[in-house]
Amino acid sequence: MRPEIQEYNFDWMLGALMDVGSKVADGTEKEVDRMNRYVPYFAGMTKSILGEGRPGSTFLKILSKYFRNLLTAHDEGRKIAVTTFCFSPSICYALDVIPVTLEVITALAGMMWRRGAFDYLDYGCELGFTETSCSAQRGALGAYLAGLGEEIDFIVCDTPGVCDTNANAYAFAAAYLDRPLYQLNYPQILGEERSNTYHLEDYREMVRFMEKHSGNTLSEDRLREVLEEIDKQDALIADLEDMLRLVPTPVPTVYNLFNYGGRFIFSGWPDYTRLLEDMVESARDKAKAGLSGLKSGKEKVRAFLCYIDHYALNLDFWDWLDAHGIAHMGGILSRNFRDNGCYIGGLEGSTYSVDTTNMDTMLDSIAQMNARMPMVRSIRGPYDRPNMWLEESLALAKVFQVDCMIYNGTPGCRNTWGMIKPFAREMEKHGYPTHIMYCDAFDGRVESWEATAARLEEFFKVRGLL
């Protein structure tokens, strides 16, 4: 790693920029202009986000708060747990632990810095972590392995059996940094009593682990508070998803990012509820007026991202969709599978509910919710088994009236690269033109965003979608 990179605390660098962004949100035009001179590469991102009005401003503020919490955690006596986007951080908040969601941080580095997370991505490889591993974790992880982030107290994640590459990153970190690790393990099936029981038993064990290493006991009242907040958040997400079904959809493309970005770091916190409220209110106003959420006002295509998005500098991916009149119909990251969702018809067995009656019902609720987080729900088993990726994607495509499918991931994703070709064939057979992106969502050196955009453009033109 370059010596100058090692001079700065990674979390502080990101947090300081976010702090700037959150202040820009309330600044005058002159103040914004002056501020942007000092953060030229971040200015594009703030411009795109703030272009969405209050939801954008709220999003930047919660990101800023997230880093503030992280940077002050140890001073305030809180423990820091590294985790993954497939894991609901709500249990961390219930135990007064600050979560570090590696993938969110790697994505932010990719969108905020011209150099992305490149130095950190490479640093892991210098230590022996494979270069073929998933960049989503490898980016931020490089900083923590180098001792450039806040000190990690323990590690919790949930991907063994679902995404071994992901699980391996956390196992490597635990071994390298000599930190305690608990990994929830999910069976290959979903929707049966047997797997639900396994989810709960494993989760209970994990709570004991977290209590031990956080020094805090899970309180019934605090867990109820968190779950009641999640209940509100799920209802708001359901509202947003309902509006996403409208043609044209009044939901802007970037709301997808706001939705899951907030959920992966602030699920169960009131700040995320406020963000969702702002998004619902703004989309509802557009819906009442029959407006599209796209800036051009003209929705030409409805695209479903069957996996993840692309985290190029600024918000180039979302801006590109918007500029081309392509509405973002969500992806694997933005769906939550609460039993009140508009798309659960036919997928009932694979949803979760929230029951705050007592500690047991709450633990079951949070365990089952966690088991329906992105990836761990949809790609745990063979792609064409009940409740899995194919069935889910087809159900969602129908509900949201999508015109095409786009697969984007990272070369590190053994799991989806192992089945994307059969999956894409099925999608085409069902009438959905499907585009497989061969870039790396978190590493622009694999394929530049410009090249990726050119391929997207080609797909939409060749398939007669634009």
Partner: protein, 379 residues
């Protein structure tokens, strides 16, 4: 004598399998060492480990798997698509790792294009990633489900008595393999690493009774007439990604400066080294034996236990250097090799990290050059 083992270890449709089929009996392939072979043996089915040797091209494997996938399952799919597994009456796929578990999806999809390549019995066996009580219970239930499924499909009855007898038969060979490991640990090393590895790999495809008998004869022969004295050569150990490739070990030993005295490989004695309890409930015994010993990096969070096991082998076999190979895109072994390298080099054990492709040794020149440099460093 060794020819029998070499035939089984280097040919997909080896003579024992051909003979077995010719006698009207059935064969079931399995993809991972977590599948208890005793289940099939108990009812006269021949369990054979699925392998990707003899692959000469990859157009079928590449057509169904994406580009960033380990070449081992691709090779298996390639052979399946070419009809090389036509002797299989059944196949068991497990979530050994992400690449391997997608063999299930891709093989079935390829079956839509290549008629008859999916065996009549095709089963997905869910192996958990933890040995905690709930993980063990899950695995026990999975074994029970597998047994029921085999019984239904093949019209057989897998009783506890039959299972217990199969465990005893399998343990006999395990004990003999342990004797070979002890011989390899001795100063004179009466058997080359290449021969020993061929013997071990052969055990994954040969009928167990015949294998055990041949193994006994081999050990008797080695005790009476040891092979050429290997003293003075560098004593190496090979670890890492799945490998059933005799040529890889041969390449190391061809240098004439080195002898492979131990492996810690999925096809090696890593699993065969653990005897299954012959007492109590045989299903629980199989579960504890196959899942309980966490030697594969798929069992996350057990790095320290694996390092300890590695050090024990190093000490027992007087290993002087460790070759850590991993197939490209095998992040589990690749990353763990990085940790092993850090911790073993710290105690003065020379390590060589080697990334390679599974299949024909197309990279022989590069691998050889690195091995030579490694041996030079050790001397």
């Amino acid at each position: 004598m060794k020819e029998i083992f070499y035939d089984a270890a280097t040919r997909v449709a080896s003579q024992p399998i051909i003979d077995w089929k010719a006698s009207g009996r059935k064969v079931v392939g399995y993809s991972c060492s977590y599948v208890p072979a005793e289940i099939f043996h108990a009812v006269g089915l021949l369990p054979v480990r699925l392998r990707g040797i003899e692959t000469r091209s990859m157009e079928i494997g590449d057509a169904y798997f994406g580009p960033y996938i380990c070449s081992f399952p691709k090779c298996i799919l390639q052979l399946a698509g070419e009809g090389k597994f036509s002797f299989l009456d059944g196949a068991i796929i497990t979530p050994g790792c992400d690449s391997m578990r997608r063999l299930d999806d891709c093989w079935r999809k390829a079956g839509e294009d290549y008629e008859g390549i999916v065996p009549g019995y095709f089963y997905y066996f869910d192996v958990p990633h933890k040995t905690a009580p709930h993980g063990m219970n899950w695995f026990i239930q999975e074994i029970k489900n597998l047994i029921s499924s085999v019984e239904d499909h093949f019209g057989v009855s897998i009783t506890k008595d039959k299972l217990q007898e199969s465990i005893r038969v399998y343990n006999r060979a395990r004990r003999l393999l342990k004797q070979i490991e002890d011989l390899r640990s001795s100063r004179d090393v009466p058997i080359s690493g290449t021969d020993a590895f061929a013997v071990t790999v052969a055990g994954t495809v040969m009928p167990r009774e015949e294998y055990t008998m041949r193994l006994g004869e081999l050990i008797e022969g080695l005790n009476k007439h040891p092979g050429p004295n290997q003293r003075g050569k560098k004593r190496l150990m090979v670890i890492g990604s799945i490998s059933d490739d005799i040529e890889l070990i041969k390449l190391i030993e061809d240098s004439t400066q080195a002898v492979v005295v131990a492996e810690n490989l999925c096809f090696g004695v890593r699993y065969e080294g653990n005897e299954i309890s012959e007492d109590g409930d045989p299903i629980e015994a199989l579960a504890r034996g196959y899942l309980g010993e966490s030697t594969c990096p798929r069992m996350f969070g057990k790095y320290k236990a694996r390092l300890r096991a590695l050090k024990e082998i190093i000490e027992r076999a007087n290993v002087e250097g460790v070759v850590m190979q991993n197939i490209r895109f095998c992040d589990l072994h690749g990353s763990e090799n990085g940790l092993f390298e850090r911790d073993l080099e710290a105690i003065g054990m020379p390590c060589l990290k080697l990334e390679r492709e599974y299949g024909p040794l197309v990279e022989t020149g590069r691998v050889k050059m690195r091995l030579d440099a490694f041996l030079e460093r050790m001397s």
